[in-house]
């Protein structure tokens, strides 16, 4: 929620009695007006996504250079279970996006988590490869020809809680193709010790800025608690 800054302050009418009209008070109000207008001027000029920084005890200015939480599914109030989750339109003021999420499902087994960019469900725009580290070996698999990109796993909410995954989308606001790198971990069975650590690379090959992300599960299941998706803007 943004709040507009005032452009100036003009104290022209003083209405609370005769005393306020004496020259001393008029001078005081003139001084207040001057100071407030100086403060307004000092606060002006910021652009979306910037922060105020103190340069010393008396100077401030707008700067970029910090990471910002752009959106969080729990704080947004999304009620689970839900079959797909789409972010709001993401600010285009940062250099990169970082997405961190944990995922649980309404299924009885682990299910892949897919992500679409800008709602694009074309099966010819996503290309990826995954390298899984498993107990006893490794496995690789291509992720092509799907209508989204594979970005992680989810686990039954009644089982082991949730998986963890994160990925980076560099230069997401630029109108060119995008490459994404990430990794995930899930513990699927405490008895057998089945678990997987997966590193992956994905590409979205449309030459367009990324403005929304949509998450859904393979198998047609829904996300369940404690699923949480958080999107950060990196300066």
């Amino acid at each position: 929620m943004s709040n507009p800054l005032p452009s100036d302050l003009a104290l022209t009418v003083i209405q609370d009695g005769a005393e306020i009209l004496s020259s001393d008070h008029r001078n005081n109000y003139a001084a207040i007006q001057n100071d407030v207008n100086q403060l307004i001027a000092a606060l002006s000029g910021g652009t979306a996504g910037q922060f105020l920084q103190a340069y010393d005890s008396s100077d401030i200015g707008w700067v970029s250079g910090v990471s910002v939480k752009l959106w969080d599914s729990v704080e947004a109030g999304i009620t689970l279970p839900v079959a797909s989750i789409t972010t709001p339109t993401l600010s285009q003021s940062f250099k990169h996006l970082r997405v961190v999420f944990q995922a649980a499902n309404t299924a009885t087994a682990s299910e892949y988590v897919y992500m679409r960019v800008n709602g694009d469900s074309s099966a010819t725009t996503y290309f990826g490869v995954h390298l899984a580290g498993l107990i006893g070996g490794t496995a690789t698999y291509a992720d092509t020809g799907n209508s989204g990109m594979l970005v992680g796993q989810s686990l039954p909410s009644s089982d082991l809680g949730a998986t963890v995954q994160e990925f980076i989308i560099p230069d997401y606001a630029a109108a060119h193709r995008h490459s994404i790198v990430g990794h995930s971990f899930d513990l699927e069975n405490t008895s057998s010790g089945a678990m997987a650590y997966v590193a992956f690379g994905q590409a979205y090959v449309q030459a367009t800025a990324i403005s929304t992300l949509t998450f859904f599960l393979a198998g047609g299941y829904s996300f369940a608690a404690p699923t949480r998706i958080t999107v950060y803007g990196l300066a």
């Binding site: 999304i78 279970p81 839900v82 789409t86 709001p88 339109t89 897919y114 989204g148 393979a218 047609g220």
Partner: protein, 76 residues
């Protein structure tokens, strides 16, 4: 007969002031069938990828044996 309840979806939509607001509602029947179709196709493709890669790496003899197994399964 009660109406079928489809799973919810969550997304954002601009209100009359242009401010995006969270919308959470059940899928329509059309949305649900499309979602099921796509989600199942994704799951199937990913599960088949490792198998396809293994088949591609097989020798002709191994492929012949696999074909024999599949034919036997199909006859059952």
């Amino acid at each position: 007969m009660p109406e079928t309840e489809y799973p919810n979806i969550a997304y954002y939509e601009a209100d009359e002031h242009g401010v995006e607001q969270l919308v959470q509602r059940p899928m329509t029947a059309a949305e649900y069938h499309e979602h099921q179709k796509i989600a199942k196709a994704e799951a199937q493709k990913v599960r088949l990828h490792p198998l396809i890669e293994q088949v591609q790496a097989m020798t002709p003899d191994e492929r012949a044996e696999l074909k024999s197994i599949l034919d036997t399964e199909e006859d059952r």
